[in-house]
């Protein structure tokens, strides 16, 4: 479980996070939505400890990471997996080496055990026969899956995803969403996802938080998000003409 209490972050004069408080439960997909510049990425970076807020607490299973030193954070980060917007695969390594990297670095397993775990994770994300390929030789969707396999290889307690569907076609996006959902539920991971993709929000979002100008403007479930009275949120969700027309049709 992740608990966030009143965090504030400032860059120069600009307050980008204005007292955010919320909780994220294990086994659930928690979605952060909001316009570009609303503070979502800064918030996610605070959760993983890349950015330190000036005020507030972030408790990962009762361990406050805000005052922790880099060394202490390094220990706790071994329980985290992260899926980056640009995948962040190491392009000097092949797929197998990419997924094996955390095992190489933090475990004393034999090569056979490591390979077994890597193959299990790759199969879990429906990838076979790609072990010896390099990131530049596979598609965007496959890269996302490799990144997901790498994120889960050490059995993380927390999974953070920064716009996991960016640059993917709608069908591949759904596949990635479903994988994240399955893995989250299967391993009881606390998953936090930053996204703009409303299909993902409706499809897998157990809890949705809407950020508006650095504030938590709305919180609810995927059942509630389409029927809210919150004007800012409605502007965000029904930004496209297509969705507006669907909403109008539904109203009629």
């Amino acid at each position: 479980m992740i608990e966030v209490h009143n965090i504030q972050k400032r860059f120069g004069e600009q307050l980008v996070l204005k007292g955010i408080s919320t909780t994220f439960s294990p086994g659930k997909c928690n979605m952060i939505i909001g316009k570009s510049g609303a503070g979502k990425t800064v918030f996610l970076n605070c959760l993983v400890g890349l950015v330190t807020p000036e005020e507030g607490e972030i408790l990962l299973d009762d361990r406050n990471i805000v005052p922790m030193s880099q060394k202490e954070k390094s220990v706790i980060r071994k329980e985290m997996g992260m899926l980056f917007q640009k995948n962040a695969l190491f392009d000097s390594m092949n797929i197998e080496e990419n997924v094996m990297f955390p095992l190489d670095m933090f475990t004393n397993k034999s090569l056979e055990e490591k390979k077994e775990r890597v193959n299990f994770c790759l199969e879990r994300v429906n990838l076979v026969n790609v072990n010896k390929k390099y990131p530049s030789e596979i598609s965007g969707g496959m890269m996302k899956r490799v990144a997901l396999a790498r994120a889960m290889v050490l059995n993380p307690k927390y999974l953070f995803c920064d716009e996991p569907n960016s640059g993917l076609d709608p069908k591949t996006s759904i596949i990635i969403d479903e994988l994240i959902k399955e893995i989250t539920e299967e391993y009881k991971i606390t998953t936090v996802i930053n996204t703009h993709d409303m299909n993902s929000v409706i499809g897998i979002g157990d809890k949705i938080i809407y950020f508006y100008e650095g504030e938590k403007n709305w919180e609810g479930t995927n059942k509630e998000v389409l029927n809210t009275d919150n004007e800012n949120l409605n502007d965000f969700i029904f930004a496209s003409k297509f969705l507006k027309e669907i909403r109008n049709l539904n109203k009629k």
Partner: protein, 249 residues
Amino acid sequence: MFVLSFLEGVGKYLFMLRSTISKPEKVSMYWRETVRQMYDIGVGSFGIIAIVSVFIGGVTAVQFGYKFIELAFIPMWWLGAIVRDTMILELAPTITALLLAGKIGSNIATELGTMRITEQIDAMDIMGVNTTSFLVGPKIVGGVLIVPALVMVAMLLGTYGGMIAGEMGGFYTDQEYLYGLQDDFRPLYIRVMFVKSIVFPFLITSISCYKGFYVKGGALQLGKASTEAVVISSIAVVIANFLIAFIML
């Protein structure tokens, strides 16, 4: 303003160096990375350093030989000693370092800069890897371990190049050249060469790592960082070259 940003840069550079000194998460991974760096720097640069050294030694012999013929009263076997000393003291370590600054300096800055821009460094951070230690440390250690060997090779090939060029130009026989090589040999010069061949790669790798590791922005900034890595490490090499000579000789 310039002074402030210079001081900030120096502070950040020293901080980076300090944070590379930490207990490795796994020694075998760090060693593997160090060996990879040694291979990349050593084997990757051997060819160019070998070619340049032979010709630098040759041109030194030819140019001094031309002057000695004019002066007439200086024995030609002195050329052996002159090529030897210039290769040991100056040309082998400095030319090797300047070549490496151009070749591996931009390489390191681009590699780390690309990793920074494409969030690969952030990914390692989130895994709990000490990224300065893992990405910067092996590059510095690898450079410091392998470059003295390259400088030795450069010195030997340059001296050999001097022998071939002198013989081809008819300045001396190989016996005369070998006699000159053994005349007034000072072990201190070898010590100076080794000090240079340790200090120079340290400067080149650490400055290039600094430039690449902290790059912000996109392709434009990456290109700038790569160029700055080469320029600043070359300047650092020539300044260090002067200081080492000044202090040790």
